[in-house]
Symmetry: C2
Subunit: 207 residues, 2 copies
């Protein structure tokens, strides 16, 4: 990987994503979508802060803004982290199936490749929760942006989850794989329905 994907202009980034280059792939796309959701969270806070009608939420909104800004940069950084962790796995898959060292290298690469998407899933779950709070406390003029952030964070959570699941499935260490999948199930079971409720609230506020 030459440099950070975060320095790539959108056009080049999507071209590279569309190519058969091993990275970025679905993991990087998930992290970027999560980062866009968190960015919308910041935007909604910025558009609400200072408005008389929402003065009662001032303190909460400052806290939400700071969390959203952190989530945006963390998720963006996970694009590169995912690429870095995926490359050794991509190399491991090209080791001949009968090579004696293959199993150990593969297992190590699979575990490492699960870490960035697992971290993405945690951050996207937080972003879904943040959006749910903004559906109550965010300015009416930005209500559609809360809905967009919610849908993108939900999609990014499930997408990061797929990247964990596909690698966990191939692991020899079933206890380790099971723990990853259980954590993921828990995040999804709590945050996917929450995202649906938030989206329904947004639709209701739009009327």
């Amino acid at each position: 990987m030459e440099s950070s994907f975060c320095k790539f202009p959108l056009t080049e980034l999507t071209e590279l994503l569309a190519s058969k280059a091993p990275v970025p792939g679905g993991g990087g796309a998930a992290a970027l979508a999560g980062s866009l959701a968190a960015a919308l969270g910041s935007m909604v806070c910025e558009l609400t802060l200072g408005k008389k009608k929402y003065a009662q939420y001032e303190e909460d909104l400052r806290e939400l803004l700071s969390r959203a800004a952190a989530l945006r940069t963390e998720l963006l950084a996970l694009i590169d982290a995912d690429a870095k962790a995926f490359e050794p796995l991509s190399r491991a898959y090209s080791i001949p199936k009968d090579a004696p060292e293959r199993a150990e290298i593969m297992e190590k690469a699979l575990k490492a490749a699960c870490e960035p998407p697992m971290e993405m899933a945690r951050r996207c779950a937080e972003t879904v929760e943040l959006m749910s709070e903004l559906a109550e406390k965010g300015s009416a003029i930005a209500v559609s942006d809360v809905g967009v952030g919610t849908q993108l964070a939900r999609a990014a959570l499930l997408s990061a989850g797929l990247n964990v699941r596909v690698n966990a499935k191939s692991m020899a260490d079933r206890d380790y794989a099971g723990a990853l999948v259980r954590e993921l199930d828990k995040l999804e079971l709590s945050c996917v329905p929450l995202a649906e409720v938030t989206y329904a609230k947004v639709l209701a506020r739009i009327g």
Copy 2:
């Protein structure tokens, strides 16, 4: 708008999205998410073409690849189109409420601001359909990418939809607004369940 958002590096783009600048907003984020989904569609085609196991789908995959590439660039171009259409609306909202010319300028701006997200919704619906075909015809090594593309296209469709709904709601011309919302409802009612089915198939293939 100084230049195309497509030339912005990711970090700057997400910073601008997070700010209170009027554009990009939820519409631009939706278009970008849709473009990422279409890019993953291309990637899945590229990773499948030429594989003996999928030779029966060769012709279909070439057609899908060409559609995915077109969707990616069309959705990317809609980021700028959305910004261009949103700015007059943003200015219309700042016209004093009692100014006699306000209603006409506002109505024109609302109609124009609905066009890019409506076009996004159509393109995202096509992307959901494309992904559904790739869940059958795409290589097993890229099955998680089909799932990511599906979730992102679904989220982008609903997100573009919110941007149409929020502006359609304020229109004086209720027939025009109704036609937009009916087209949107139709796209969502057909493509959201299709995305859920595709995602379930992906989960089943991952096992």
